[in-house]
């Protein structure tokens, strides 16, 4: 048992959340026991129950906190001002980095299985994450369309296509634990190729 207790209760809460996230993301919700979390964080179960009330409360806190911090960067980046190719490439690289991060892979895994146990959590995860991302990309495409850089079409759908290309088999393999997260070079290569195909595919003719 690695005792991570700390005098400041704020960091203590963080340590509990971190330990719990590690176990939840690796084992899944049902298979995670409070004991396993305590074994990692030190202290006793009383800590968890006084801080979070229940296993569900702890889990909800984790998803809320992690999806906030990890996904908010997706909405906050201002990659525009460059030309469309550079914008898409920067967007794609950032997207892939976030999708491949252990935290988001963990949330993704658990969202998929616990969909019907925590529908509201899953809904807010999707809306804050993939949903918002796709909408923002659709706006970028909309402006490019008005500038005449790409041909007319349904920008939401085109954004879906691009995001899908970014989140392809590579992502699936990582989520399934079949391979480690890609290196920076692999990310650049994959995104570069996707941007090339996409841009050529939607260019105004």
């Amino acid at each position: 048992m690695a005792d991570t207790r700390d005098p400041q209760s704020g960091t203590r809460r963080q340590a509990l959340l971190q330990a719990a996230a590690d176990v939840f993301f690796e084992q899944g919700y049902v298979a995670t026991s409070i004991d396993a979390i305590i074994e990692r964080a030190g202290g006793s179960k009383r800590n968890i129950y006084s801080e979070f009330g229940s296993k569900q409360g702890l889990f909800a806190a984790i998803v809320r906190e992690n999806s906030d911090s990890a996904l908010s960067t997706l909405a906050a980046d201002d990659v525009e001002g460059l030309d469309l190719a550079e914008t898409l490439a920067a967007f794609g690289r950032h997207l892939l980095d976030v999708y491949m991060s252990p935290t988001v892979v963990g949330i993704y895994r658990i969202a998929v299985t616990e969909a019907h146990r925590f529908p509201e959590l899953v809904k807010s995860f999707y809306e804050q994450g993939p949903g918002r991302t796709t909408s923002r990309l659709a706006e970028v495409l909309e402006r490019a369309m008005q500038r005449g850089e790409i041909r007319n079409g349904d920008c939401e759908r085109l954004a879906d296509h691009f995001v899908g290309m970014i989140r392809d088999n590579l992502h699936l393999q990582v989520v399934l634990g079949l391979r480690p997260a890609p290196s920076q070079e692999e990310v650049c290569a994959a995104v570069g190729s996707a941007v090339e195909v996409f841009l050529e595919g939607v260019r105004a003719r």
Copy 2:
């Protein structure tokens, strides 16, 4: 309890597998109890233990059988002989149908969470499913490249792009239980748009 027992032991085995798959795919591996399966299939737990040995054995049989039957159609279709656009569209529609089917959605869900509990099963699921599919598409693209219809490039990667476009946010929403499977018209529209972008994006210049 709906008793689905049947004199022929083959169909009895099938009924058990079907009931078990229903529960496993909805609840996940850990949260599924043998009792819940029996409640659905009728009979008693002894049946399961004499036929499959253990919960793990039952689960493995389900994944093996279902991924065989559902995914084999992906390798067996002969959509070639048409022009590339039609080939891709037919391929994409079939792919999307399979990915959206309740069985494959169920397997997908459970593969994502149980990745580290059943690594070999997940590996074989990937190889038989997305892996083999992508390879087959890559071969199609390779031949098109040799015919000069598409520009030079890494066909495996291009196939990844196409498969990713097909398996986009729509698929994610279905997997997360946020919306029902798409209608035939929606499938056609999504695939049509993806084929258009992809084909234009890889066309020889």
